[in-house]
């Protein structure tokens, strides 16, 4: 099935002041859209044409993987954000305490991994097959699904995600990212 650009779950100005409308105009309407369009061109007439997006990410490689996984990652990233960020529920807090010692410890470690990701990539909170949680980082379009991990939360650390609003200051971008996290989405992913 063809890749599609989903509607954003909020208006393009709704994440201000943490993420500007200008950023979303580029990040969503240009970058994300380009991955969708390029991906569709690449899969047309191939064995990948009718795969759903999860399978495409798990089974493709090279250029098709790069575009398909970037579609997956951005679809997921937009859902990780919300203009009305509410505190995580007790269930999620308990899981974060169990694995990382506390919500703040988790945020600190996730931030370290996001800042330590060299070049363009993504920071992730994932659920391992054994039920434990982990924080990982991928380069380029990398997606934890290919390592058998279930993504729960992600932060885009390609420069295009923050350059318009924060220039080279990735740490400042991360501070604002935390103000937008949709913890209810994270909990839903935890299952």
């Amino acid at each position: 099935m063809a890749l599609t650009l989903p509607e954003l779950p909020y208006g393009r100005s709704d994440l201000e002041p943490h993420m500007s409308r200008e950023t979303l105009d580029y990040h969503y309407a240009k970058h994300h859209k380009a991955y969708v369009d390029n991906g569709n061109k690449l899969i047309a007439g191939t064995e990948f044409e009718n795969m759903d997006l999860d399978d495409l990410v798990k089974k493709s490689s090279g250029k098709i993987f790069n575009n398909a996984a970037q579609v997956w990652n951005h679809n997921f990233f937009w859902n990780c954000l919300t203009p009305e960020s509410k505190a995580p529920s007790k269930k999620l807090v308990t899981a974060l305490i169990k694995q990382f010692g506390g919500v703040d410890d988790f945020k600190k470690l996730f931030t370290e991994v996001a800042l330590g990701t060299f070049g363009s990539g993504w920071a992730w909170l994932v659920l391992n097959a054994d039920g434990s949680l982990a924080i990982t980082s991928t380069t380029g379009a990398g997606n934890p699904l290919t390592d058998g991990q279930k993504p729960l939360l992600t932060c885009d650390v390609w420069e295009h995600a923050y350059y318009v609003d924060y220039r080279n200051a990735r740490p400042t971008y991360l501070e604002h990212f935390w103000a937008l996290v949709n913890w209810q989405f994270v909990e839903k992913n935890l299952g």
Binding site: S61, L109, S132, S137, A141, W158, H160
Partner: protein, 268 residues
């Protein structure tokens, strides 16, 4: 010896309108500076390497202790690449290469226009952050070759001699060209400092015979060498991306498992 941030060889607004002042200032004062700082910091743990040049470190990554090898590779690369990049541009640049360099470009790319198109293509196709390069292949009859590398990987680490490079990290063009990387690459020829590139080629031709009889070729990371010898740019990128990804995951996993151990320790 501490590595130092070199001054720009021109005023911060000298390359307007091709490189806007805002981009130039951030790129030099913040990005390049951060690589110099991080390189010096990494080398605090290896005093024996502090007297080596950043180029030497890139040519001898296998001599760098494993604990700081990735940091040195990334930050010595960031330092060397940006230093060379600044000198690859000039307000009076543009025009055409000449002399022996032009002859070599004609020989290996069937003409300058074709070379430009291939170089732009390599820069456009590189996925994520990296560099497009014109290099001399020292083990390939000194033929000129176009490469693309991820992150700040420098072809010095795989035995090539770099002549020209263009930065295709988003920070190099985002404020002016937004997501239009091909437009940035195309416009960049207006400021290319060909006299500098010609001089680099001349130096290579003068020094190379003496060098190859004296010093052994650099020890090359096998994956990197294999990656760079592939001709298709996507393949190069794919191999390097996988290496990067696996390295990072290993690193992050060790961070994460360290943490969960301490958590286990608390509860157990």
């Amino acid at each position: 010896m501490k590595h130092v941030l070199p001054d720009l060889p021109y005023a911060v607004d000298a390359l307007e309108p091709h490189i806007d002042q805002r981009t130039m200032k951030l790129h030099h004062d913040m990005h390049h500076a951060s690589y110099v700082k991080a390189l010096n910091k990494a080398l605090e743990e290896a005093p024996e390497l502090q007297s080596q040049t950043a180029e030497w470190l890139l040519m001898n990554l296998n001599e760098v202790p494993e604990a700081i090898r990735t940091a040195v590779r990334n930050n010595a690369g960031g330092h060397v690449n940006h230093g060379m990049f600044w000198r690859s541009m000039d307000a009076s640049g543009g025009g055409f290469p000449s002399g022996p360099l032009l002859a070599a470009i004609d020989r290996d790319f069937s003409g300058y226009e074709n070379f430009k198109a291939e170089f732009e293509k390599a820069g456009t196709k590189l996925f994520g952050s990296g560099w497009a390069w014109l290099v001399v292949d020292k083990r390939g009859n000194d033929k000129l070759q176009i490469l693309a590398t991820s992150g700040h990987d420098n072809p010095l680490s795989s035995g090539y001699h770099p002549l020209l490079l263009n930065d295709v990290w988003e920070h190099a063009y985002y404020l002016k060209h937004e997501n239009r990387r091909p437009e940035y690459l195309k416009n960049w020829w207006a400021i290319t400092n060909w006299p500098e590139v010609e001089q680099r080629y001349q130096q290579f031709q003068q020094q190379e015979p003496a060098q190859s009889s004296k010093t052994p070729p650099p020890k090359i990371d096998a994956d990197l060498k294999q990656a760079l010898h592939e001709t298709a740019q996507e393949q190069i990128h794919e191999v390097m991306t996988k290496r990067e990804a696996s390295k990072l995951v290993v690193k992050e996993k060790s961070v994460t498992s360290g943490k969960s151990h301490s958590v286990n320790g608390k509860s157990g």
